[in-house]
Symmetry: C2
Subunit: 533 residues, 2 copies
């Protein structure tokens, strides 16, 4: 037998447990195992929401892949293309601008799912996803920033907006995130002198008739009652329709002013799988009972959240950690059976149970037919997830964090890391202001689509100066004159903007005079028009 | 007595200990205390290098200001201007594009120092500072990324470059950072199959005749010998002269190829103090013996790393934590004396001792005339810094982390957070390539200053296609054609570039046709020229 090249794409539960299984099946001389992942760690997703409250340390909820799978070569790149014909995977560039190509004999697709933002207007620009560690840190920072801004805000409407948090999706993930945001903000507000925890509004929105569709109705009702008692608002039978930097808009027409909209519904596969030419079911690659990719039997396997897997009884396998780990073991067994000669096994695992935390020492669980709720379910939840965490050091660290959480108040450190100078996008709903007269001029804008109205004055003395459409630029006057905004710009319809911040604008226009001219030409035209009008 | 408005700028040791002192001196009805800081936490700098190795958890090395100083109003903004005349501080914008103005009766300047990067070409673009938590995380990520890229790099020269780390500055901070990078990389490499710890090169550069100018010579020699025994290179009597993305260049002419240059020398004050009109000494605001700002007695105090403070004996007060905390207490006493009628006291504290960690259970210390080195000094170092950490919860958490460090191998999680789409700058030294023929086309470039040569082919068949100067653009052809680079571009002299990444270029050129034209015009000209030539 020649040395086999096995390549695993993705370092979540499914990818890592496949690698673990393969390390047991193959001796180093029998196969090289390569795992491609953009991060060098594996995220223990069941505990990820705990990062929001600081109950678990930032780096304790993840585990370095290199240590978990010592015989696996870890490639820290994004996967950009899979060529099933040539059996080559193309990865993103490193320090040098060169792609990395990796050949395979056996390929494992374990790329997970991502939140589908593009179908909801404004969600790409203003919604917060909740899938990986960076998302959890970003959400935590947003929440802390909202509290800090609320404290110094004098306008009561603006203050209310800053203290409102909207979470879309009422499954386990959404409920846990909402519960932790609710607990964390109410606890944290005790440290703020001029705000009461009653001012906090945490809204959980679920399209179905009840939250937690994963569990039996009684437990869901228990959870709903408990969360409402803790001050959370739960809205059922509605869903997010749009988001802007100022509010969340729902299908029913309801609008909630907020600076923080979270979507926890992962519903699509990564781009590289989207463009992969293979049999699919609702966008996901279809697998055989042996978890092979349909049409690529004996060469490619697919598992985890990115694959469409059904049990022999026809049920679809849910995207949970307990399933992904067992799928990983099954794929490793079947690759070994293929390479060494043996009979592959059919994946058949119905699940041991379901559980989810509700925060504040409470949870719901359905384990082997037994339903538990409240404190007992919470103890079970912590026990199960701690014992399942791969690696002893993390277990000890998390155990220690949990112990300290009992002793000390929650942590409030905002870990904001430096970001590059940027060009951003902004989505506006009709009637929302891009900026108001007197605001600081720190960006220029380009209308991608939609219409904006430029006005001056308020109430009766309000005067419309111009109406701008797609491709037009504005906001350059205040930047060029280094002054405040001399007019208000408001979206007349649903509008998408490209926002160029001042440092980028200055850098571009001082080095490419033609770029500056695009704007200065417009500026002088407008000044003339206004003088004439 | 009317209620006094006291405003503290900066949340380091000096600012936080001033707030702590003021909370003791003033009842809530006597004074409002406001502290302005861009982060909501205070960084315990003596332990910051430990974040690199993961010995201390990311958020444990910092402490939330709101909890330390419960009666102080925390404003999470940057300070943009101080008007000594009108007694008003202007802060940066929040979610809304409006400045925040804060009036004061008493003002405390405690803004700290920052690394002066602009005097060394290329350091702004390619050097890593080491001052705050974000810097520590960024350095850790860079180190981990270099190791990961080195593992999959096949070119031995490129691999060597990735495994070389240069740290400029041989004071306590530089030595601690270098020691931890040295220990961490050599430990981590045990988890990499195809690299040996001997391949690691950690270079510490110090302009003086020895490292650790803060302590007596014997201790510095001890430290030098120990660090060299652990494989670190120490270069004395030289200093950094320039940096690019490929190498560090020294005054002596020596060049070290590396992807990681760290500068630990904080040497200038923040911009807001630079433009402050007051008496200064070497750029720093000058203080009276009572720590008042010269010329603003009874209204403004200045302390910590941002101020120029001398003792009654004429010695300059060094920028250390033990001095800053005592300066804070002194300023609080003197503000209270001024407000309530009393005699201000003269700041006179000579320091208790000096100590610094050398990593791996070793340190040097000079305490009340006694010199210690090795393990005993290290135990003392840990004991002192742990006991001085404000707040019990952090002490317990750090103690627990240190205990776990004894049990488990170092942590290798790379915490990379998402960044915006960007426009970056790049500095090149003569002979360095911007890109090579065949590289991916993922950016366009604008020459800010310098000259670049466009060539095709290698060795004898190398052909110079063009020479480009300031204001010219290049790199657009590969982007517009979505192909690889069809030529190599090399800096002919010291050159600074503006780099526009593909997503930004695409967004701008698809929405502002004139912007795209700037580049497409150039592209078609070049194609013609090449066809003709």
């Amino acid at each position: 037998m020649s040395k086999k090249k096995i390549v695993i794409l993705g370092g979540g539960f499914s990818g890592v447990y496949t690698a673990l299984g393969l390390e047991k099946h193959f001796k180093p001389q029998e196969a090289s195992i390569t795992l491609v992942n953009s991060e060098n760690y594996f995220v223990y997703k069941p505990l990820l929401p705990e990062v929001i409250s600081g109950a678990v340390g930032l780096t304790d909820v993840v585990s370095p892949i290199r240590r978990l799978c010592p015989r696996t070569n870890l490639v820290l790149r994004d996967v950009e293309n899979v060529d099933l014909e040539k059996q080559v995977v193309t990865c993103s560039r490193g320090f040098k601008a060169r792609h990395l190509e990796i050949e395979y004999d056996y390929l494992v697709l374990a790329l997970g799912a991502k939140t589908l933002f593009s179908i909801i207007p404004g969600l790409v620009e203003h919604g917060l996803p909740f899938g990986n560690l960076a998302d959890a840190v970003a959400l935590r920072n947003r929440v802390i920033r909202c509290l800090a801004e609320a404290e110094i805000e004098t306008d009561p409407e603006a203050k209310k907006k800053l203290l409102t948090f909207v979470i879309a999706g009422g499954g386990f993930s959404g409920v846990e995130v909402a519960a932790l945001v609710n607990d964390f903000t109410r606890d944290a507000l005790k440290n703020y002198s001029n705000m009461s925890p009653q001012a906090i509004r945490v809204v959980l929105v679920q399209s179905g008739k009840r939250i937690l569709p994963e569990v039996e109705e009684g437990l869901a009702v228990f959870a709903q009652d408990l969360l409402r008692k803790r001050g959370m608002e739960i809205i059922l039978g509605d869903r997010l329709a749009a988001a802007s930097s100022e509010k969340a808009i729902f299908k029913s027409g309801m609008e909630i002013p907020t600076r923080c909209v979270v979507s926890t519904v992962p519903s699509t596969v990564p781009d590289v799988l989207e463009k992969l030419d293979c049999e699919k079911e609702r966008g996901r690659p279809l697998t055989t009972p042996h978890l092979e990719l349909s049409g690529q039997e004996g060469k490619v396997w697919a598992l985890g959240d990115c694959a469409w897997i059904t049990l022999p009884n026809g049920d679809r396998v849910p995207p949970t950690a307990q399933h992904a780990t067992r799928e990983g073991a099954c794929v490793a067994d079947n690759i070994a059976a293929h390479a060494k000669g043996g009979t592959p096994r059919v994946f058949d695992f119905g699940g041991l149970g379901k559980m989810g935390s509700l925060g504040h020492h409470s949870a719901v669980a359905e384990v082997m037919g037994v339903k538990l709720s409240g404190f007992i379910a919470w103890v079970l939840w912590r026990f199960v997830y701690l014992s399942k965490f791969p690696g002893w050091d993390r277990r000890v660290r998390i155990g220690a964090s949990w112990f300290m959480e009992l002793l000390f108040p929650p942590d409030m450190v905002q870990l904001s890391l430096r970001s590059q100078l940027g060009v951003n996008e902004q989505h506006l709903e009709p009637g929302e202001d891009v900026f108001e007269e007197g605001d600081l001029g720190d960006s220029v804008y380009i209308i991608k689509d939609g219409t904006c109205e430029v006005t001056r004055g308020k109430g009766d003395s309000k005067e419309v100066l111009a109406t701008l459409g797609a491709g037009q630029v504005f906001g350059e006057m205040a930047l060029l004159a280094d002054a405040g905004r001399n007019a208000t710009v408001t979206a007349a319809e649903r509008t998408n903007l490209l926002v160029i911040t001042k440092p980028v604008f200055d850098a571009l226009s001082s080095n490419v005079p033609e770029f500056g001219k695009i704007f200065s030409k417009v500026a002088s035209q407008r000044t003339e028009e206004n003088a004439e009008g």
